[in-house]
Amino acid sequence: MTEALPEFTLDRPETIDQAVTAMAKRPSSRFLAGGTDLIVNMRRGLVDTDCLIDLTGISELQQLSDGKSGLTIGAGVTLREICEHRDIRRSYGAIGEACDAIAGPGHRSVATVGGNLCLDTRCMYYNQSHWWRKANDFCLKYKGDTCHVAPTGKRCRAAFSGDLAPALMVHGAEVEIAGPDGRRRMPLADLYHEDGANHLGLKSGEFIVAVHVPPGDTQRMVRSAYAKVRIRGAIDFPLAGVAVACTRLASGEVRITSALTGTNSRPFLIEGFDPIGLDQDPDAAFTNLAKLVQKQVSPQRTSTIGSHYRRLAVSALTQRLAKRLTLELE
């Protein structure tokens, strides 16, 4: 059973500066966007705060533009808006498909891009009621000193479970961040750490303002897609998810970029896969890619579904998507 929502104050700033100031005044506050993750975690007693700073009234966070300089998505844009945006779907297939795959239609109406990128990590020993966690002596991520997934380890293994991050990463997205020291930009891939208890590289008082994606290619030189495995066909977070982008280079070679989620404490890009040459057997290359994924991914027993299955599933999904997208490039 879920606990009642604790008492808190709701602050509703109208500008980014007001939000930064509000956080500086009460550093124990938490930023709130759609609330589809944070409110649930608060009801489970996983969030200590007496003040929420609601970012949904800030108009700058609602910007959404797709032009020659690329795609800019404000952090407050809802997932439904992305799902329904034809230009994004045409030029950035993986981003549209990832948004389709998040939660259910009701959540997508309110859940935001920034919220999904800042999703808390998940684990079957963490996403439980207070009563359940207390009976299990809590865990390393919150109030405990042992990781029940890897008891001899020194860090939390909870899995990052956002679907959107890998899709943005394969398109080379950068995040724009606002905070007490002003604005900064960084590659999205650098935002995350491999530590389930501290996976976000945001400094105190910072929040994501927007995501910037380089121009999509409408001449069918880049194709991308997203796929995930989960138990229920909707709502569920990914047991493993993968985004793949295939690019036809000027030399005729095909570059394949893939990024994973749901398996580690951070979403990450698969490294070390060379472009497929014109004289190369593509099937052998896809098999190599699958092996590379199996080597770099490290799912832990953070869900009831075994880690070995998730390793094999994400590797097979990557191979399948890469094959399909390469064919679409022809």
Binding site: M1, T2, L5, P6, E7, F8, T9, L10, G35, T36, I39, V40, R43, R44, L52, D54, T56, R80, A103, G104, P105, G106, H107, S109, V110, G233, A234, I235
Partner: protein, 155 residues
């Protein structure tokens, strides 16, 4: 802390002082006495609490009432008009889309949101729209049949 919210519920303007931490489902049921929307899983997973906010389905159990200030809320109670069931309500009744009934208000509101966007949805669209709503009785077949029938009735 409390704040005054003004919103429209099923067409009627409502103004109430609510706690910042009050959930929309509790506001509707306990303050406005609209008990049609049900508390099911209590965590945004089952859809029994689905209502329309500005025409889009949303789980009321993970929505703050204060965040709905100035918005238009529609619940199952607002589906009846002048003593007549809506096309969806009638179709659920005639096609046995309801068994125990606990999930039905959420199912109908999710379907209502769909039919407004897509008046003649495919089965795939119906299944996608109901992805966030669980039913433990019907097996979904008759629910989908009901929505298909309601879509036909609205043509």
């Amino acid at each position: 802390m409390k704040q005054i919210i003004a919103l429209r519920i099923n067409g009627a303007v409502c103004e109430d002082a609510v706690s910042d931490s009050l959930l929309l489902i509790d506001y509707l049921r306990e303050v406005r006495h609209l008990t049609g929307a049900k508390m099911g899983c209590d965590g945004g997973e089952c859809g029994a609490c689905t209502v329309l906010v500005d025409g889009h389905p949303r789980p009321a159990c993970i929505t703050l009432a204060a965040s709905c200030n100035g918005r238009e809320i529609e619940t199952i109670e607002g589906q009846v008009s002048n003593g007549r069931l809506s096309a969806l309500q009638r179709a659920f009744h005639e096609n046995l889309g309801t068994q125990c009934g606990y999930c039905t208000p959420g199912m109908i509101m999710a379907a209502e949101g769909l039919l407004r966007r897509s008046p003649t949805p495919s089965d795939r669209e119906i299944r996608t729209a109901l992805g966030g709503n669980l039913c433990r009785c019907t097996g979904y077949v008759k629910i989908i049949k009901s929505i298909r029938a309601a879509a036909g009735a609205q043509l």
